[in-house]
Amino acid sequence: MQKFFRYLSQSKDALSLVVPAFKRNRLRVLSGFLAIIAVDIIQLQIPRIIKKAVDGLQESSVTQPELLRYGLMIVALALSIAALRFGWRYLILGFSRILERDLRCTMFSHLLTLDNRFFQKRSTGELMALSSNDLASVQIAFGMGMVAGADAVFMTIATLGFMAYIHPILTLIAISPMPVLAILTTVLSARLHKRFTKVQEQFSELTEFVRSCLASIRLVKAHTQEKHQSGLFNDMGKEYVRDNIRLAMVQGTLFPFAGLIANTSMLLVIFFGGRYTIEGHITVGEFVAFTSYLFMLTWPMMALGWVTSLFQRGITSLGRISGVLDEHTALTSTETEKLPADTKKLRIQDLTYTYPGQNRPALEKISLEISPGILGVVGRTGSGKSTLCHILARLSPVMDNTVFLENRDINTLSITDFRSRVAYVPQDIILFADTIAANISLGNTDATMDEIQKAAATASIHDEIMEMEEGYQSRIGERGVKLSGGQRQRIALARALLLDRPVLIIDDGLSSVDMDTEQKIIAALSGYIRDRICIIVSHRIAPLVNANTLIVLDQGRIAAQGAHEELLRTNSFYATIHKYQTSFTTTPPENSTEPGGPAR
């Protein structure tokens, strides 16, 4: 218990998370607890009635109508117990569900405000586990855990009181084995927890193995690795079996042991209590009542260990949840300036950006002026192209006075206002499980079908949508149509175009579209782009040759800047990439002229 309370005080921060819910529902929780106490008090009356009846029978002083009265009294008490039990179940368990709902919604609302630094740090799977496993253990701790805890504490005290009232020394004798149970439970619980975690890890490893093996089934078959994979799976399965049996060894001791201790107490009561009865210290009725009380005590004793572990788990989970709620977006805005009317000029000045936990900056000393027209960004993987896009879409935080919109520092502009100027096509396309029309009109739910179709046509996807059985009403997702990578990218482009915003950023968002189609799209875009800022990232140079300006990023720096022809003439690095992508040389130049290339 002591350990338990120390644990509680350590987890004060985490617990402060549930305080508001307790305050809001104080009446509910309070009456719930009262109901539990009332149930316990009434429950303890039943053995007393039994005692009276048995004593009466022993002395032959009881009559048949009296016995009936005893019986009816028990039923009456039981009825009120049933009503009160329903009461606390509804009140306290209901509270735990309300608490769960509140935490769930708070967490989600909070997640919506976090920036992509956070989401890079925490995987979706981790956050999903938080919302399913951790919330569940919090709910159990504050539902069944709280009930069982209150019940166990109160029952123990009350039962011990009643027992001591009958015979104090016999009570001490009866509960003497209980501390052994408490100690053993604590020791074994720790081991149980460790082995349980091991089993869970083993289980997720097994799952991951199966997933990755089936995901590359084509390769497994091509390399005829079926037997080998089966063998590996077999080894892992055997390990899993072994760990489960190790877990069962602890479990198999813990639970029968609680029964063993309870029965030992009963044994002591028979031996000593029986003696006391024979010696006339207590009546037979008292002896019988005593055994009834002892029986009542068994459960709270067993429950204490269980309740402790429920709370430990619940509070650990609560700590994890509060860890997420303590995270705050690094995107800040003073909101001191009003959004300018125009969006004709974006300026980046001496921008250096380093991801948290990394030494090398992702972008280094970038200075750039962007005006309407196409800005092409090329460079190899990891050169900082996406980081630049994230910053311009206001998804990643920047230092003051590094990025300007119409000469206003973007950190002084409201984030939402700024974002309302930007349409974005990310590298990994996320579409929602809804109709194609709903996906395209995601940011502009009022759009007419005509507008949706026009956007789709510009993105060169209209014809393919029309070929589907339900056209624009086709559903995307597991049970809906299966889209190719290129189709998904073009739908995402249509979605961005429909926003009709002055800045369009395509972050390598046409990589799965074949070159022919990409050309068509860029040609179709030319009308749309005329007085907008359009930033297109591509790993292919060819589609960007007509861009107003091109920049080449290399290791976070702008290695070259200018129009295509100009760059071809003046920048050897760009020329090398271009030549490399298009020329017919069988081997690329041995000593390539790339700046800052990996050291040999």
């Binding site: 016995l67 769960e100 992509n116 979706t124 289980f203 003696r275 190899r380 996320i430």
Partner: protein, 600 residues
């Protein structure tokens, strides 16, 4: 233990009485009949030991505690005797319980292990068409959660089924033996208990299912939102997302509260029935004591047995739902096990040797489904030692060509011949072992680099060193502390995309097949790796019949012949110079790459 985020497939819940299903399950259980029989025998011991205890108490009361006919000393020594017997039974029960838990866990785990292994090996034999139609997530669930469901049934149900059944039957027998009249009165309660349980099980199951489905909905939406967070924020859909999530959570809360109410009625109901039974014992049994038909000891024993009787009833419905979900899992598992590979192997397969490497496609037509045909009447031959590059826009059918050659699918019409033998007549495993494969994805086996290169082949250190040199992997491998003994994959180091590609080439060099199929990766790698890959391509293709889906111009140039595909047909073929001179599709594609403009 289950981390499936509450996803639950409700498509078809089976009936527990499904005889066929049980027969299938029995075939897995029957090898362990010895262990199961022992467990059942242990159940007998546990029940007997447990039920003996109240009887011993009643004996103690009647024969010694209230027996004034013998001396006090005799009474106390008699009590000691009973206490000793009691202690023996307690220890016996404890040991039997412990061994039963371990034995059943061991048996259950081994049965599940076999089932999982059978299922996994079976899934690996299925052909690719199956994997296209069944999402990996579903198959993973079969192998992990569904198997786990069945295990839960094995350990918790089989034990408790016997333990509870023996206990309930045993209690009735003892009661009837002690006092058949009282037992008869008690048995009047049985129909009420059964009705109550059946009614409750039905409601509870429905409530559980609704809760689980709702939780699945919440999690699906959460997953979608988390992976689409960027999009939600950029398109400013935060408010909408929040409202939707809030509504989903509210429905979940309502469904949980409904479940709480159902449990709130049922659980106290069982307690109420238990109290009523005690009242009956007091009233009716007390009357019989007054009439001298039974002793007080018998009455006390009755009271104790009634408590033991109601204990298992509380969990009965919960256990019923475990059985339900396990049977649903069993049905899904066996359904999957019954899925036959679509491509039946011929009665007699041939293993042509030695291979020359002559490939012929004769009038091949093929589609992945009936609606869309991918290849149309395709014919071409490749001479031994010749390298053929296949080029064409996305969706032209290039990858399908490879799928057919590897015999992942059979052509709908026409045939494919290796050295004059129809692929359908050749042993599939032999075929795949004799065609080298380099695809865009690379299979990483969670094992050492050496094992990853050699797969099923053997090679001495010198040969391996030579392979590493030729495949350009030497530098990478030598930079590792443990060299080629370094583990990669799930429990080892990560390899970069480029290194994976090189590994694929090393594999081909290790198996040294006559035919090489190469699907060039389009992914971006840095120039240095690019050079390495080019060298590896050159070494690997030398002296082999090669089909290359080419993206690198250097590879295309190296080919002896170029096949230009479009919409499932070969529209041009020849060398680079000839095709360029023709000014057809090939020239058009090349110009796109070169200039970003079409010179046609």
């Amino acid at each position: 233990m289950k981390h499936d985020f509450g996803y639950f497939e409700e498509d078809h819940l089976s009936q527990v009485s499904d005889v066929k299903l049980w027969k299938r399950i029995l075939t897995y259980i029957s090898p362990y009949w010895k262990q199961i029989t022992t467990a059942v025998l242990l159940s007998f011991v546990i029940t007997a030991a447990g039920l003996a205890l109240p009887y011993l108490i009643s004996l103690a009361i009647d024969d010694y505690i209230i027996n004034t006919e013998i001396t006090r000393l005799d009474r106390i020594s008699g009590l000691t005797k009973i206490a000793t017997v009691f202690a023996c039974f307690v220890i016996l029960g404890f040991l039997a319980n412990f061994f039963q838990v371990i034995l059943l866990e061991w048996t259950g785990q081994n049965i599940m292990h076999r089932m999982r292994q059978d299922l996994f090996s079976h899934i690996l034999t299925l052909n690719l068409g199956f994997f296209n139609n069944n999402p990996i997530g579903k198959l993973v669930t079969r192998l992990t959660n569904d198997i786990q469901n069945m295990h839960d049934m094995f350990t918790s149900i089989i034990v408790t089924l016997f333990n509870d059944l023996f206990r309930i039957v045993g209690i009735f027998i003892i009661l009837a033996w002690m006092d058949w009249r009282l037992a008869l009165v008690m048995s009047l309660l049985v129909p009420i208990i059964i009705l109550n349980t059946v009614w409750f099980s039905r409601l509870a199951r429905k409530a559980f299912r609704e809760i689980r489905t709702q939780l699945a909905r919440i999690n699906t939406y959460l997953q979608e939102s988390l992976s689409g967070m960027e999009v939600i924020q950029l398109f400013q859909r935060e408010d909408e997302a929040e409202v939707r999530y809030r509504n989903l959570s509210r429905d979940y809360l309502n469904k949980s509260i409904y479940q709480i109410k159902i449990f709130g009625i049922f659980m106290p109901m069982i307690e109420l029935l238990s109290a009523i039974s005690i009242a009956i014992v007091i009233w009716h049994g007390g009357g019989e004591v007054l009439d001298g038909r039974i002793t007080i000891g018998v009455l006390v024993a009755f009271l104790a047995y009634m408590r033991l009787f109601f204990q298992p009833l509380r969990e009965l419905s919960q256990k019923y739902s475990i059985v339900q979900s396990a049977m649903a899992s069993a049905e899904r598992i066996f359904q999957l096990m019954d899925t036959k590979p679509v491509m039946a192997a011929p009665e007699k397969t041939i293993q042509p040797s030695p291979t020359r490497g002559h490939i012929a496609f004769k009038n091949v037509s093929f589609g992945y489904n009936r609606k869309t045909r991918i290849l149309h009447d395709l014919s071409f031959t490749i001479e031994p030692g010749e390298t053929v590059a296949v080029v064409g826009p996305t969706g032209a059918g290039k990858s399908t060509l490879i799928n057919l050659l590897e015999r992942f699918y059979d052509p709908d019409q026409g045939g494919i011949f290796l050295d004059g033998h129809d692929l359908k007549k050749i042993d599939t495993l032999w075929l795949r072992n004799h065609i080298g494969f380099v695809m865009q994805d690379v299979l990483i086996v969670p094992d050492t680099i050496r094992k990853n290169i050699l797969l099923s082949h053997e090679a001495d250190d010198n040969t391996l060193e030579k392979i590493l040199e030729q495949s350009q992997l030497a530098e990478f491998v030598h930079s590792l502390d443990k060299g080629w003994e370094t583990k990669v994959g799930q429990r080892g180091i990560e390899m970069s995309a480029g290194q994976r590609q090189l590994l694929a080439f090393a594999r081909v060099l290790a198996s040294d097949p006559r035919i090489l199929v190469l699907d060039e990766a389009t992914s971006n790698v840095d120039s240095e790796t690019e050079i390495r890959i080019e060298r590896a391509v050159a070494t690997t293709l030398a002296n082999r019949t090669g089909i290359v889906i080419a993206h690198r111009l250097s590879t295309i140039r190296r080919a002896d012949r170029i096949l230009v595909m479009d919409k499932g047909k070969i529209i041009e073929q020849g060398t680079h110079e000839i095709l360029m001179a023709q000014g057809g599709m090939y020239a058009h594609l090349q110009n796109l790459h070169m200039n970003g403009t079409d010179v046609k």
